[in-house]
């Protein structure tokens, strides 16, 4: 059986929100293409994004708090669709549909070139108006939007592949030893489990005086894929760990709730328990502990 390609595995990590490092050859990055993209204000304080590229269309509903953000929760619904330079069409089943034509309204502008890019080093953004219908109502009506004329843009290419520095490129391609070494002191817990068509992952990191928590739930449900993510930032006291890493406790803020307890018994068996849960848009109080989770508690040195 074939195991995961490096690109897909990297994407998997990226999707988990754990790291966004993709090892893409330059030729891939230079292939071009475009993305259509628009933002709306939905009900109950949710921001709604609609977009598409190739044969994939998505609607994303998110809510965040704080500047800089202290927490954010997003649910992205992904479906097969028809996406061209001038239109997006896709059905999201009971959640709604998108049928829009893009009409450019102004001159294309180029963004400032970036450094250390694989392939293109800037975006070409063309503003315009989407005309047609966007109808979306999240599960249980947590957010809804209906619109017929929305400002948006087309972006070429859909994404740049750029790096902060030459060192980061070397690290990206597994040549970290050649780059200047950094030794961040990070304590990290990873917990997750996977079933046939879905997976849940949690990563908690404590670095200096801050703890960050990321949870991801991905699911394929009929003709729809759903990707939910939650992020929270809190004082380091929300992530307590013994120096021996035999015990740790987690009390992340919203959109998380409850406490997670990690314990390693004298024989080395790992226990992951407690009422820790996360609330995603459309999926409240999803448990994040239990015997089905595989866990790993580590500290860098």
């Amino acid at each position: 059986m074939r195991a995961l390609s490096s690109r897909r595995w990297a994407l998997g990590l990226c999707l988990l929100g754990l790291t966004c490092m993709l090892a893409l050859p330059a030729g891939v990055a230079a292939k071009g293409g475009l993305e259509l993209d628009l933002h709306l204000r939905g009900s109950h304080g949710y921001g709604i994004e609609v977009g598409g590229y190739e044969s994939t269309a998505f609607v994303s509903a998110s809510r965040s708090v704080g500047t800089p953000r202290r927490f954010e929760a997003t649910s992205t619904y992904i479906a097969r669709g028809k996406v061209s330079a001038t239109s997006i069409q896709a059905s999201f089943g009971a959640l709604g549909h998108v049928s829009l034509r893009f009409h450019p309204t102004g001159r294309a502008t180029k963004t400032r070139p970036r450094r250390h890019c694989l392939g293109p080093d800037h975006y070409t953004i063309r503003p315009g108006v989407f005309v047609g219908t966007v109808r979306f109502r999240g599960e249980g009506g947590y957010a809804a939007v209906k619109a017929h004329r929305i400002a948006g843009k087309s972006v070429t290419p859909p994404q740049l592949v750029c790096f902060d520095s030459i060192q980061s490129i070397l690290r990206e391609f597994g040549l970290g030893g050649l780059a200047k070494k950094k030794k961040p002191k990070v304590t990290k817990l990873r917990a997750g489990w996977r079933e046939a068509v879905g997976a849940i992952y949690l990563e908690a990191r404590r670095k200096r005086d801050t703890a960050t928590f990321v949870a991801v739930h991905q699911l394929a449900e009929g003709k729809l894929a759903i990707y939910r993510s939650a992020y929270a930032k809190a004082p380091a006291t929300s992530f307590g760990a013994q120096a021996s890493l035999s015990q740790a406790s987690f009390r992340p803020p919203k959109p998380f709730s409850g406490v997670g307890l990690f314990r390693r018994d004298p024989r080395g068996a790992k226990l992951w328990s407690g009422p820790l849960a996360v609330s995603f848009p459309g999926e409240p109080n999803l448990p994040l502990t239990g015997p089905q989770f595989k866990t790993q508690l580590t500290r860098s040195w």
Binding site: S5, Y53, F58, T76, R194, A196
Partner: protein, 304 residues
């Protein structure tokens, strides 16, 4: 760290990731691609001694989905006691020498193809990491414990879908090999009863999934089967790349079973094993057999 933000108000990371991944696997041209094998049939057959066959490792050697193996909750696969028996002997092990000289292996299925002897397997079992796996590619139907009771069939032509060839798009991870006669001068379809092949059917099928898993708890010595396992849905990642959505079934086969046949109605090939996650070994994923598979099949028929 890679910088994925477009601009401060740009797409959230998920959207960026989706877009970037799709770019990496952009649409490919419509025609399939076949290439001739580089080694002679005799050289390929004689290379594969029992010891070399036993030493071959699953392809690709260095890649794994997920991080740590986990216990499987799926019903265990069953060992086929007599892999040379009618009804199962069309399943076999595939042995390959990679560009770098590694001995690799997969699984495959003999299918009906007119005058051509054709083996269907996974795309990554004929083309991987940018290279055709043309060196000493052989199909051994009925393989067991290092023995080849029905002979060894060396590849004459290898082919895969253009989407796999260009972009390693796993929604199109299907490969085919036109094979020569065995060392006794017998055609493949005279030695085994090939499966039929079907494409464009509903995904809601119940499959017998065959393969020669090598990774633990298996050892690659015997043919395994997950009997009557129904379609369960799609892998999430299948949505992020162009093409027909893949299929998931409950089956605990491990690496080495790549390319093994997914058979419906007892005699019709309608899928192959492509991938799995090490943190959920109870589920196996394979590409949907759609129009691209049909085009590849027709091209392989003509290659003969």
């Amino acid at each position: 760290m890679g910088t994925l933000r477009r601009h401060p108000t740009g797409a959230p990371p998920i959207v960026a990731a989706l877009v970037l991944f799709a770019l990496a696997l952009a649409a490919a041209p419509a025609s399939a691609s076949l290439v001739p094998a580089t080694s002679s049939a005799q050289a390929a057959r004689s290379y594969w001694t029992p010891a070399r066959m036993r030493s071959a490792r699953p392809l690709p050697e260095s890649r794994r989905r997920g991080s740590e193996p986990a216990a499987s909750a799926a019903l265990p696969a069953e060992t086929i006691a007599e892999p040379t028996a009618p009804g199962v002997s069309q399943n076999g092990a595939v042995f390959i020498v990679t560009e770098s000289g590694l001995r690799g292996r997969c699984s495959g299925t003999a299918v009906e193809a007119g005058k051509v002897s054709l083996v269907v397997t996974a795309g990554h079992c004929v083309h991987d990491l940018g290279n055709w796996l043309r060196g000493r590619w052989v199909f051994v139907p009925g393989y067991r414990y290092g023995q080849r009771p029905l002979g060894t069939f060396a590849a004459r032509w290898l082919g895969t879908t253009p989407q796999w060839l260009r972009n390693e798009n796993e929604n199109f991870d299907v490969g085919m090999a036109v094979v020569s006669r065995n060392e006794r001068g017998q055609r493949l379809d005279r030695v085994v009863e090939p499966d039929k092949i079907a494409w464009g059917l509903s995904r809601r099928q119940t499959f017998d999934v065959y393969g020669y898993p090598v990774a633990k708890p298996f050892d690659g010595a015997t043919l395994q089967r997950c009997p009557q396992t129904p379609y369960e849905g799609h892998d999430f990642l299948s949505f992020l790349t162009p093409g027909p959505l893949d299929l998931a079934v409950e089956c605990d086969l491990t690496p080495g079973s790549s390319g093994g046949g997914w058979v419906i109605h007892g005699d019709t090939l309608n899928g192959v094993t492509s991938s799995g996650y090490s943190d959920n070994p109870g589920t196996t994923y394979g590409p949907y057999f759609g129009a691209a598979v049909g085009r590849l099949y027709r091209e392989a028929e003509r290659a003969g």
